[in-house]
C-alpha cells in the first residue's frame, strides 16, 4: 500500500489544523454557517436530516488493518457504532457532532487517512478496481496511477471551486469493475502495439439527473502525460462548464453542448501550452510508485486443497459461500474473498464497529493485513490461501459477514434514501428489506444467478439505478413514495443505460415487481443467459406485460 512520506504527513496534518481553525472561528461567530458550508464540504462534512454526515476518503478502496480499526474506533466513539460503505469506495458516518470532527480528522491522520475533497465541487476520491493487483484478467495494476493522480489532485489550488464535483476512475483489467465510462474522466490503462503503457481516456460520463455514457477523448495517451492531460481537461471545464444551473454544471453537459470533437480541440489547444513541462512524468516515478504495491509474500502452492474440498462436500452453507463469495486469483493456491455487507435486514453497505474490528483481525491473520472496499458496497480480502478459506468463513460467519449472496438480487446497491437524505423522494432501505424478504430461499437466488439491482431514492442517482440490470428510482407522486423501474442497465465495458419498464409502481408492490421480472427471465432464458442477456435478446415487452398484468 502507499505509505505517506513526511510531505504527505505534513499536508494532512496541516489540513486538520486548518479545519480545526475554521470550526473554532465558526463556533466563535467569526465564520458564518454559509461561509463554513463549502469549507466543511471539502472536508467531507454534510448537513443531513438528522445530523451531520462525515464522508472519509478511502483512496481507490485500499485499507490496511490499522486503518480499519480506526474506522471502527470512530464509529464507536463519535457515532452510533456503525458506518456506511459507499458506492465510491468511501465510508460515511451519519451522526458525528461538528465540534468533534477536527478530532476525528486527527485520529484519521494518525493512520494516514483524511476526508479531503470527499464532497464539494472539486476533484473527488479516485476510484478503481477492487481486484487491482490480483484479478486474473488484469493487464496493468491501476493503483500506482490512482495514487499519482490522487496526489496531483489533492488541494490543487486552481481546481478547488469547479462548476460541480469531478470524479475520476481508473481500471487496468479487461472487465471494467470501476465503471469508468460513468465518470467525469474514466481511464483505462492499456498497452499499445509497441507494448507501451498508456490510457484510453473517456470524458463526460456520469449518472445523476442526466445519465450519459463517457466519450473517448483520446484513444491512447502515453502514461507520462496523464497529469498534464487531466490538467488541460480540468482547465477547460473550470473556465467553460456552466455555473448558472447546478443541474447542468457537470462536465458531461459541457461535452454534449460542444460535441466531443470541439471539446477535444479545446483540450488539445490548452494542453499544447504545457504538455512537455513540469507535469510530464518520468519512468522512475512509475517505478517508485509501483514499489508501494509489491506482490505480497505468496507461498508456492497448488490450486485445490484437500481439506477445502472435503468441507465443500460436507457443508452446504460453506460450499454456497465458496461458490458465490470467492473468486479466482492470479496466483495458484489463493482466492479472492468477497465479504458481503448485504446481510438480510441490514441497510446495504452498513458495518458495525465490531464487524470492522473483526475484518481487521481476519485480514491480519489471513490476508496480509489488507482490505478493499468495492463500489458495490462490499469488502474484499484480496489474498487468502485456499487452505485458510474454511477458517476465514467461520470467522466471517461469526460476525454476520458471510451471507452467500454476492452478485445476486440481494446484493443490491442502495442509497440512504428518505431515512437519511434530505433530497430523497422515497425510502430505499425499507424497499431493500422488502425485496430481501421475497428471496429468502438461497437455492432460488442461485438459480436466478447474476442480477445487479441498484436503487436510488431520487433522480440524483447515488444508487446508480440507471446502470442496474434492474434499476429502481424513488419518485414523489403527490407526496407519496412510488418507484420507477428500468431494466438492462450495465456499468461494465458494455456500458448501457437501463430501459424504462413503464409507469411507476406503488411502494408495497415493488418486491412483487422484482419477482415478476425474474419469473419472466426464468421462463425465457436460454442456456447460460443472465437476466441481462435475456433482456437484450427479448426486449422489454415480456417483462412489462408480466409486471403490469398483475398490477392491473
Amino acid at each position: 500500500m502507499y505509505q505517506y512520506d513526511s510531505i504527505d504527513k505534513t499536508i494532512v496534518n496541516e489540513r486538520v489544523a486548518q479545519f480545526r481553525d475554521q470550526v473554532q472561528r465558526h463556533l466563535a461567530g467569526e465564520l458564518s454557517a454559509a461561509d463554513l458550508q463549502p469549507l466543511r464540504l471539502r472536508n467531507g462534512l454534510y448537513m443531513q436530516i438528522h445530523a451531520h454526515m462525515l464522508r472519509v476518503s478511502i483512496p481507490y478502496g485500499m485499507l490496511n488493518s490499522a486503518q480499519m480499526r480506526t474506522l471502527a474506533h470512530i464509529a464507536r466513539k463519535y457515532d452510533k457504532g456503525y458506518g456506511h460503505f459507499t458506492t465510491r469506495q468511501n465510508i460515511q458516518y451519519n451522526w458525528p457532532e461538528l465540534a468533534d470532527v477536527p478530532d476525528i480528522l486527527a485520529d484519521l491522520a494518525e493512520v494516514e487517512m483524511h476526508a479531503i475533497q470527499t464532497s464539494g465541487n472539486c476533484i473527488r476520491n479516485i476510484s478503481s478496481d477492487q481486484y487491482a493487483g490480483v484479478a486474473p484478467d488484469e493487464i496493468i495494476d491501476p493503483r500506482p496511477y490512482c495514487e499519482i493522480i490522487r496526489q496531483w489532485s489533492t488541494l490543487h489550488p486552481e481546481f478547488y471551486w469547479l462548476p460541480r464535483k469531478f470524479k475520476i476512475a481508473v481500471t487496468g483489467a479487461t472487465n471494467d469493475r470501476a465503471a469508468v465510462q460513468f465518470h467525469d474522466i474514466g481511464l483505462e490503462v492499456i498497452k499499445n502495439a509497441e507494448q507501451e503503457i498508456g490510457f484510453r481516456v473517456y470524458v463526460g460520463g456520469g449518472l445523476g439527473r442526466t445519465p450519459v455514457i463517457g466519450k473517448v477523448i483520446k484513444e491512447f495517451l502515453p502514461r507520462e502525460d496523464i497529469l498534464s492531460y487531466c490538467e488541460a481537461i480540468l482547465r477547460v471545464y473550470n473556465l467553460h462548464g456552466r455555473r448558472d444551473n447546478k443541474y447542468k454544471a457537470r462536465i458531461k453537459i459541457l461535452v454534449n453542448a460542444l460535441g466531443i470533437d470541439e471539446f477535444r480541440t479545446q483540450v488539445e489547444e490548452e494542453w499544447a501550452h504545457f504538455k512537455d513541462q513540469e507535469l510530464k512524468l518520468h519512468e522512475v516515478d512509475f517505478d517508485t510508485m509501483q514499489a508501494f504495491f509489491p506482490l505480497p509474500d505468496y507461498e508456492v502452492l497448488d490450486d485445490g486443497d484437500a481439506r477445502l474440498e472435503k468441507w465443500r462436500s460436507l457443508d452446504t452453507r460453506f460450499n454456497a459461500w465458496y461458490e458465490h463469495n470467492t473468486s479466482a486469483h492470479k496466483h495458484a493456491g489463493y482466492r479472492i474473498v468477497n465479504v458481503s455487507l448485504k446481510e438480510h435486514g441490514v441497510a446495504p453497505g452498513d458495518a458495525t464497529d465490531k464487524q470492522m474490528d473483526a475484518m481487521a483481525d481476519i485480514a491480519d491473520q489471513y490476508a496480509f493485513g489488507e482490505i478493499r472496499t468495492t463500489h458495490e458496497q462490499n469488502l474484499v480480502l484480496a489474498d487468502v490461501r485456499q487452505q485458510d478459506l474454511l477458517d476465514v468463513w467461520k470467522a466471517l460467519d461469526a460476525v454476520g459477514l458471510a451471507t452467500p449472496n454476492i452478485g445476486s438480487v440481494n446484493d443490491m446497491i442502495c442509497c440512504p434514501g428518505l431515512d437519511f437524505c434530505s433530497l430523497a423522494n422515497a425510502s430505499s432501505i425499507s424497499i431493500a428489506k422488502q425485496i430481501n424478504e421475497k428471496f429468502t430461499d438461497f437455492q432460488e437466488l442461485y438459480d436466478i444467478g447474476e442480477v445487479k439491482l441498484k436503487m436510488s431514492g431520487c433522480m440524483n442517482a447515488c444508487g446508480h439505478h440507471h446502470v442496474g440490470h434492474i434499476g429502481i428510482l424513488g419518485v414523489d407522486k403527490k407526496g407519496e413514495e412510488w418507484y420507477q423501474f428500468t431494466i438492462g442497465g450495465d456499468a461494465s465495458n458494455h456500458a448501457e443505460l437501463g430501459t424504462r419498464l413503464g409507469p411507476a409502481i406503488a411502494k408495497d408492490k415493488v418486491g412483487d415487481a422484482v419477482v415478476d421480472i425474474l419469473t419472466v427471465y426464468r421462463q425465457q432464458r436460454q442456456d447460460d443467459e443472465r437476466l441481462l442477456d435475456t433482456f437484450r435478446r427479448v426486449g422489454v415487452e415480456p417483462f412489462k406485460d408480466q409486471v403490469y398484468a398483475e398490477q392491473a
Binding site: I7, N238, R243, T288, D419
Partner: protein, 192 residues
C-alpha cells in the same frame, strides 16, 4: 414519511460580473495590511472614461479595450478588471501598459478567476499586481496566492489581522502553480 419537497427549490444563479462599484479602506498586499484608495467601477451600458471619478479606479475590460488611450491619458496607474466570464487572452499583448489586473469575485465559489490568475502569471508573464476583490475571504487567500494573486480586498467586517494567518496554513504542496514550479514527483526524484 413524506418527501422533503421544501428542500428542493432551485438555487438562484449569481451574475458573472459585479453590479456595484467596490471600494475598500484597507487591502492586503504582499502579506501586509495597507491603505487602499482604488475604486473598482462596475460595467454599465453607457460607461465611458469621461464618467470616471478623477481618483484611482480599475476599469472593466470592455472599457479598456474600447478606450485604451483615454484610460492611459488619465495619468493614473492603469488597473483593468477581468470578470469571471472574460479571458486574460484579451489582454495578453497589452500587459506592458497595465499596472494591476483586478479579479472581481461576485461569489467565492466561482473558480474561473483562479485560472485567469494562473494564466496571467505563467503563460503571459504578467509581473504587476493581481488583486482579488469582492467575495474573497480568509479561506480563499491561500489558494488565490498559489495561483498568482498578491493583493486582496476583503469585504467590510472581515478581520484582516486574522486573515494574514491564511498565508501560512500549508508549508507543503503537491503540484506546480504560479507560486512554485515543482511537481511533487520531481522533488522526490531529486531526493532519490
Amino acid at each position: 414519511m413524506t418527501a422533503n419537497r421544501n428542500l428542493k427549490a432551485r438555487p438562484k444563479a449569481t451574475p458573472d460580473r459585479i453590479q456595484n462599484n467596490i471600494q475598500s479602506e484597507k487591502a492586503i498586499v504582499d502579506r501586509a495590511i495597507v491603505d487602499s484608495a482604488i475604486q473598482h467601477v462596475a460595467e454599465t451600458d453607457a460607461l465611458s472614461v469621461a464618467d470616471l471619478p478623477s481618483s484611482a479606479v480599475s476599469v472593466p475590460l470592455n472599457l479598456w479595450l474600447d478606450e485604451r488611450d483615454a484610460v492611459i491619458a488619465r495619468g493614473q496607474p492603469v488597473a483593468v478588471q477581468i470578470a469571471a466570464d472574460e479571458s486574460p487572452e484579451d489582454l495578453a499583448d497589452q500587459l506592458d501598459s497595465i499596472d494591476m489586473v483586478v479579479l472581481p469575485f461576485v461569489s467565492h465559489v466561482d473558480g474561473r478567476s483562479y485560472s485567469h490568475a494562473y494564466k496571467l502569471r505563467t503563460r503571459f508573464g504578467f509581473k504587476g499586481e493581481i488583486r482579488a476583490v469582492g467575495d474573497v475571504k480568509f479561506d480563499q487567500l491561500g489558494f488565490l496566492t498559489r495561483v498568482g494573486c498578491n493583493a486582496f480586498e476583503l469585504p467590510d467586517g472581515e478581520n484582516l489581522e486574522t486573515a494574514l494567518r491564511a498565508f501560512d496554513e500549508f508549508s507543503e504542496v503537491y503540484q506546480p502553480s504560479a507560486d512554485q514550479g515543482r511537481l511533487i514527483f520531481s522533488r522526490r526524484r531529486a531526493v532519490h
